[in-house]
C-alpha cells in the first residue's frame, strides 16, 4: 500500500494504538481516495471506532502516519482543527444536543465562522435558512423542526446527526454505524441518503448490517484485531476464507 502514497484524501500507514498494552489498532494501513465511499466492517472490537478516533484527533496514535489531502499530518492537530479542515463525524451512539431543538442542532453544525464573538452576534441570513430547510428536507425532519432533539426516536436522532454532518459541509464524512437501531425501511433510506451525500463528498461508513453494506454497493475493507484483513467488493471479501472464519461465519 505504500506505493499509492500521498495524493489520496485520507492516508493511514502503520497506525498503532495501544490501550494499556492492548493493541486496538495494529499497523493499520488504509487509503481512501477523494470522492470515494468506503464501507468498513469487522467484528466487535476490531478497531473500527478507534480508527475514526485517530482520524478525528480524539486518540493519538503511538505510531504511524495519518495524512489528509496528501500533506496534512492529522496526528499533530486537535479535534477542533481537524473538524475545521473538513472532516465530520457521526458517532456510534447517536450524539445530538438533546436540550436543543432539531433546527438549533443543525444551526450549530452549519458551516460558518466558529469564533465566539461571531456566534454572539450571529443572525441567520436567507441563504443559511434556505440551506437549513434543505437539510431538514433531506433528512426528513421537516415536521420536527422545533422539537427537542432528546424527544426524537433513535432512528431520527441518527438522521439528525447525519443532517448535522451535512450542515458542516465536510470534505470527508466518517459515519459510525448509521443504521443501528433502524427498521428495514429506514436502513434502506439511510443507504440511499449516504449514496446521495457521496455524490459530492467522500464517505467512510462503518456498519455491521450486511444488507446495508450490500445496499451501498461500494468497496469494503474488513478490519480484524486492529488491521486490515481483506479489501475489495462485498462479494470478494465475503468469499475470503479468513473473513468467513473471523466474521461472517459466526
Amino acid at each position: 500500500m505504500n506505493g499509492t502514497a500521498p495524493q489520496s484524501l485520507l492516508y493511514l500507514d502503520g497506525v498503532t494504538v495501544s490501550f494499556e498494552g492492548f493493541r486496538a489498532l495494529n499497523k493499520l494501513s488504509l487509503v481512501v481516495e477523494a470522492g470515494e465511499m468506503r464501507a468498513i466492517i469487522g467484528p466487535n472490537g476490531a478497531g473500527k471506532t478507534t480508527m475514526m478516533d485517530v482520524v478525528t484527533g480524539k486518540t493519538r496514535p503511538d505510531q504511524g502516519d495519518v495524512l489528509f489531502g496528501g500533506d496534512i499530518d492529522l496526528t499533530k492537530l486537535d479535534e477542533t482543527e481537524i473538524a475545521r479542515l473538513g472532516i465530520g463525524r457521526k458517532f456510534q451512539k447517536p450524539t445530538v444536543f438533546e436540550n436543543h431543538t432539531v433546527i438549533d442542532n443543525l444551526t450549530l453544525a452549519l458551516a460558518g465562522d466558529r469564533r465566539a464573538r461571531a456566534a454572539a452576534f450571529w443572525h441567520e441570513d436567507a441563504e443559511e435558512s434556505a440551506r437549513l430547510d434543505e437539510i431538514l428536507g433531506i433528512v426528513r425532519l421537516g415536521e420536527h423542526r422545533d422539537r427537542l432533539a432528546g424527544r426524537l426516536s433513535h432512528g431520527q436522532k441518527q438522521w439528525l446527526e447525519i443532517g448535522m454532518l451535512l450542515a458542516q459541509e465536510p470534505r470527508l464524512l466518517l459515519v459510525d454505524e448509521p443504521a443501528a437501531g433502524m427498521t428495514d425501511a429506514e436502513t434502506k433510506q439511510t443507504a440511499e441518503l449516504l449514496r446521495q451525500i457521496n455524490r459530492d463528498r467522500t464517505v467512510i461508513v462503518v456498519e455491521h448490517d450486511m444488507s446495508f453494506v450490500r445496499e451501498l454497493g461500494v468497496r469494503v475493507t474488513v478490519l480484524h484485531e486492529g488491521s486490515v484483513l481483506a479489501e475489495g467488493s462485498l462479494d470478494q471479501v465475503s468469499a475470503d476464507e479468513r473473513v468467513i472464519e473471523v466474521y461472517l461465519g459466526r
Binding site: 444536543f97 450549530l108 466558529r114 456566534a119 422545533d146 432512528g155 438522521w159 458542516q168 433510506q189
Partner: protein, 385 residues
C-alpha cells in the same frame, strides 16, 4: 412581522422579572422616604441596604448561573471574584477617608499607619480616583478569571476537579488577604468608610441611590446574560454543557467559549461585590471563605439552574430566610437549615423553583410549536411509513 430582537429575547418570566425588579426599585425608596415613620407602610431605614444586599447577591447568582447553568462549569470560587470587586471599591472608599481617620494621615489608611508602613504600596495607587477603581472592579476579577480559565480550560479540567481548584483559588486568596503584610487590612479588612463620590455612605439618600443602582446593575446584567444565552453563543454553551466532545468535533474552540463566559461572569460578580461593600460598610477576608462560594451555588440550585431569573430569585429567597433565621432563637440552626434546604431541593425540586414552575406551566398548555405534532412524550411518527 418580526418583533425586534430584544422583544423576542425575553420570555414571559424574563418580563415578569424585569417588571418586578423595576417595581421594587421604585417602591422600596418611596416607602422609606415619602412616608412618615408613623405610616403602617413605612419601611424602616435598615431595610434599604438589606434589600440592596439581596440585589447584589442576586446579581452574583446570575453570574454563577451563566457559567454553571448554561455551560456546566460548577464554579465554587465565585465568592473570590465578588470579594475582589468589593475590595477594589473598598480601597477607593478607604482613600476617600483622608485625614478623617483615627490617625488622621492624609494618605495612608489607618491600618497602614498602625503597621508603621512608611508609604502607600504601589498597588494602592490610583484608587483615590473613582473611574480607576471602577475599572479595577472589572479588571481584577476579569484578569484573574482569564488566567485561571486559560490554564484550566486548555488542559480540559472539568467536573469535580474544576470545582475543587476553584475552591482552592478562593481559599488561597482568603489566606492571603488575612495576612497583614498583604496590604489589605488583614483580618479586619476595609471598613469605617466615610463617603463615596462625596456623598456620605451612611446617609439614607446615598443608600437609596445605591439600592437603585444595584437594581439597575441586576437588570442590565440580566439583559446581557439573557441576550447572550439566547444567541448562538449561548446555544454553543449549552451544547458544551451537555456534550462537550461533540462540540469540538463540530469545529468549535470549546475553551474559548468557556473562557469568554467565565470572564464575563467574573466581571459581573465583581460588580456585585463593588455595590455590596458600600451598602454593608465593610469588606473582609471572610468573603473569600470557600463556604460562601458554595452558598451561591445553593441559591442558584434553589431558584432553578439555567434560568437566570431563578438564580436571582433563589438568592433573594435563601438570603431572606437566612436573615430571618440568623436573627433570633433559631440562629444556631441556620447551617442545618441551609444544608437541609439543599438536600430537599435536590431531591424534590431538581429544577429549582423557577424550573419546576416552568415545567408545570408547560404541562398545563402543551400545545405550542415545539410539539405541534401529537404531544410531547410520544415518539414521533416514523418518517419511513
Amino acid at each position: 412581522m418580526r418583533q425586534p430582537y430584544t422583544m423576542r429575547m425575553l420570555d414571559g418570566r424574563g418580563w415578569i422579572f424585569l417588571v418586578v425588579l423595576a417595581a421594587i426599585a421604585v417602591v422600596v425608596p418611596v416607602l422609606n422616604f415619602a412616608l412618615p415613620p408613623s405610616s403602617p407602610f413605612y419601611l424602616q431605614n435598615h431595610w434599604v441596604p438589606l434589600f440592596g444586599k439581596y440585589l447584589c447577591f442576586a446579581l452574583l447568582a446570575v453570574a454563577v448561573d451563566l457559567v454553571w447553568g448554561y455551560c456546566g462549569i460548577l464554579s465554587l470560587g465565585h465568592g473570590a471574584f465578588f470579594a475582589l470587586g468589593g475590595y477594589a471599591m473598598g480601597m477607593y472608599m478607604m482613600r476617600q477617608i483622608g485625614t478623617r481617620g483615627v490617625y488622621a494621615h492624609p494618605i495612608l489608611p489607618d491600618f497602614m499607619v498602625f503597621l508603621n508602613w512608611p508609604e502607600l504600596p504601589f498597588y494602592w495607587y490610583g484608587f483615590n480616583w473613582f473611574p480607576y477603581a471602577v475599572l479595577m472592579v472589572l479588571l481584577v476579577p476579569g484578569v484573574l478569571a482569564f488566567v485561571f480559565g486559560w490554564f484550566a480550560f486548555r488542559s480540559r479540567v472539568t467536573g469535580v476537579y474544576l470545582s475543587i481548584i476553584t475552591q482552592a483559588l478562593t481559599f488561597a486568596l482568603m489566606l492571603g488577604f488575612f495576612r497583614n503584610n498583604f496590604g489589605f487590612g488583614g483580618n479586619n479588612g476595609l471598613t469605617d468608610f466615610k463617603d463615596i463620590l462625596g456623598f456620605n455612605v451612611q446617609a439614607q439618600s446615598t443608600r437609596a441611590v445605591l439600592f437603585v443602582l444595584s437594581a439597575l446593575a441586576l437588570a442590565l446584567s440580566f439583559l446581557l446574560c439573557q441576550w447572550l444565552v439566547k444567541s448562538k453563543f449561548g446555544k454553543v454553551l449549552v451544547a458544551i454543557r451537555d456534550e462537550e466532545p461533540r462540540v469540538r468535533f463540530l469545529g468549535y474552540r470549546v475553551e474559548n467559549y468557556k473562557l469568554a463566559a467565565f470572564v464575563l461572569s467574573a466581571c459581573l460578580a465583581g460588580i456585585a461585590g463593588a455595590l455590596y461593600v458600600p451598602q454593608v460598610g465593610i469588606i473582609n477576608p471572610s468573603e473569600f471563605s470557600p463556604a460562601n462560594s458554595i452558598e451561591i451555588v445553593v441559591w442558584v440550585a434553589v431558584g432553578g439552574r439555567g434560568t437566570l431569573v431563578g438564580a436571582a430569585l433563589g438568592a433573594v429567597v435563601v438570603n431572606y430566610a437566612k436573615t430571618y433565621f440568623t436573627t433570633g432563637l433559631l440562629a444556631p440552626y441556620w447551617l442545618f437549615a441551609l444544608g437541609g434546604l439543599f438536600v430537599l431541593v435536590t431531591l424534590l425540586l431538581p429544577k429549582g423553583i423557577v424550573g419546576t414552575i416552568s415545567d408545570w406551566i408547560a404541562r398545563e398548555k402543551p400545545m405550542n410549536g415545539a410539539v405541534a405534532n401529537g404531544g410531547a412524550a410520544e415518539p414521533a411518527p416514523k418518517p419511513a411509513e
